[in-house]
């Protein structure tokens, strides 16, 4: 019975997020820009850039042994697809998780529906777990769909411009299966932690805006070539976010109670 209660909350939260135009626009716009527009621009730029301007020999050394090539464009696009795009891609789970968690937790408080929900015979922990799962599911669904869309569009463009595809490497596997889930969880737990104090969903979302900064810094390091994203580095980033999410979650039961949530 507990499972069906939780399932009902998850379904309701997902539906609320998808049917609300105010939330749907950022939920669609950011992934489209990050997963479709940005890689397309990069691919076209790489295609139309004069090849004499580039000194790709040094960069080619960063490619895995199987992918070593003399083609300047290919080196550039391989690095673009496997190093720069994963960094950009992290903006998607950060944004989706923050919009969905803020709406799911603080949005309900703002609209006075949380109190009604808290009168149900599901423990507070169960209500929160269902809501965390709903936000996490949406974040991962949007991330995976965005990756599929990016793959489809980028590979089609690569075939048209380069004549051959550039397949995503292990960095994407780590990004999709470890870094994106870890960063989504961290954002959600941050919002859950602040949900007792925050009065509006916007206020709650603003608390996670600062998370954009490390992602932006990561993107800059990829562009500048200061540090190239390897699978190990991404695993480290994912582990750091997973650890932070764990630390954030530890204090939640003490901070969150019916009383703190309903305080006006």
């Amino acid at each position: 019975m507990i499972h069906s209660m939780r399932r009902a909350i998850i379904k309701k939260d997902l539906r609320a997020l998808i049917t609300n135009k105010r939330q749907l626009i950022p939920l669609l716009a950011v992934p489209i820009v990050v997963a479709v527009v940005v890689p397309s621009v990069f691919i076209l730029l790489a295609h139309f850039s004069p090849q004499e301007m580039m000194e790709m020999e040094k960069l080619a050394a960063f490619l895995p042994p199987g992918e070593q090539t003399d083609g300047t464009q290919q080196v550039m696009l391989w690095l673009l697809i496997n190093n720069i795009m994963p960094a950009f891609f992290l903006l998607i789970p950060v944004m989706v998780a923050s919009v969905s968690a803020a709406s799911s937790f603080v949005g309900e408080k703002e609209k006075h529906t949380l109190e009604t929900l808290l009168y149900c015979p599901l423990p507070l922990r169960g209500v929160f777990q269902s809501k965390i799962l709903a936000s996490f599911t949406l974040s991962m669904l949007v991330s995976l769909c965005s990756f599929a869309a990016m793959l489809l569009v980028a590979e089609a463009e690569l075939l048209l411009t380069l004549g051959s595809p550039v397949f995503p490497g292990i960095n994407w596997l780590v990004t999709l299966l470890f870094v994106a889930p870890a960063i989504s969880l961290f954002v959600i737990t941050l919002i859950v932690r602040g949900s007792a104090k925050a009065q509006t969903a916007d206020e709650s979302q603003q608390r996670t805006i600062f998370l954009i900064l490390p992602v932006m810094a990561f993107i800059i390091t990829q562009f500048s070539g200061m540090v190239f994203a390897s699978a190990w580095l991404l695993l480290g980033v994912g582990a750091a976010f997973a650890l932070l999410a764990g630390i954030c979650m530890r204090g939640v039961p003490q901070k969150i109670s019916y009383e703190t949530l309903l305080k006006r």
Partner: protein, 306 residues
């Protein structure tokens, strides 16, 4: 088993405000208990304490033997709550809202739909059941909240101002439904309101509260004994009574107090024997409103004396 027991129930908020002050009362199953007092008296805080939404600062309470502070979910299984701040989802239709809340209360979907249909019919919302909540008027929302609170057949209903925003016809419907629930299904009703006349029509027992403190609790007859259990008689006659103190109202109208209705015939007889004419006699007991204000006054005097 008592439906609700509160023993010295106290809630002091962190800012120091004593919202509920050592309140004690008990109510039996199937009773319609009116918890009455002005806005800010502590009624909603008491509902939240009885549902485990707030933890008491002192004292304790039990709902059908379950301590809400220790096992809030245990109480939530048994209770339905309607308060001003417990609202529903605007993007969902009336039916979708009821099906959702039915699901989170563990009611199976088929049973929930059938129950929801019956509630929509009883609360005259059938034509709006497939409309989004955002199109509902205040009165319709209030009725839908009642339906939501009843979807899982609770043993006890906590209703905070259930008829606010309702027109007289719908308010009457809601009152009839409350009476039916209590009498036919044995549902206990904990009704919070500041409308004392409305409560007197509906409730079987009362708790009168002001500034967090319980002034008195009991049936109307029990409350009357705390103030004045006699009758106020309004007499229209050509002569005033000669052996009972009275107040002349205007012309041939007099007001006086008697202990019981049995004192009326001798009073009339005496006036007639003296050659007087009786044009009318009406008798009434203290209303809940009069009792409330008398108790408030009593408390004020007591506090001034101490």
């Amino acid at each position: 088993m008592q439906a609700v027991v509160a023993e010295n129930l106290t809630k002091i908020f962190p800012q120091g405000k004593k919202a509920v002050d050592a309140v004690s009362f008990a109510l039996g199953q199937g009773e319609i208990f009116g918890f009455l007092g002005p806005n800010g008296a502590g009624k909603t805080t008491a509902v939240k304490l009885l549902n485990g939404m707030l933890t008491p600062t002192a004292g304790c309470c039990r709902v059908f033997g379950t301590d809400p502070a220790a096992d809030p979910c245990g109480v939530h299984k048994l209770s339905g709550v309607v308060t001003e701040h417990a609202q529903m989802y605007e993007h969902m239709t009336g039916m979708e809202n009821l099906l959702f809340f039915g699901a989170v209360f563990g009611v199976n979907a088929r049973e929930c739909r059938a129950r929801a249909d019956r509630l929509f019919a009883a609360l005259e919302l059938m034509c709006a059941k497939d409309q989004k909540l955002s199109t509902y008027s205040t009165g319709m929302r209030q009725r839908l909240s009642l339906a939501r609170a009843m979807i899982h057949r609770p043993k006890i209903l906590f209703l905070d101002e259930p008829t606010s925003g309702l027109d007289p016809e719908n308010a009457q419907n809601v009152n009839d439904m409350i009476k039916r629930l209590a009498h036919e299904e044995g549902t206990t009703i904990f009704l919070c309101t500041h409308q004392l006349r409305y409560a007197q029509e509906l409730c079987t027992a009362y708790g009168l509260i002001d500034e967090g403190a319980l002034l008195a609790a009991g049936t109307l007859a029990e409350l009357r004994t705390l103030v004045f259990s006699g009758l106020t008689v309004r007499l229209t006659a050509s002569l005033p009574p000669d052996d009972i103190p009275y107040t002349a109202l205007n012309g041939h109208e007099f007001s006086l107090t008697l202990q019981t209705e049995d004192d009326i015939p001798p009073l009339v007889k005496k006036i007639v024997e003296r050659g007087g004419k009786i044009y009318g006699v009406s008798a009434r007991q203290l209303t809940l409103e009069e009792i409330y204000f008398a108790l408030l006054e009593k408390r004020g005097v007591k506090e001034a004396a101490s």
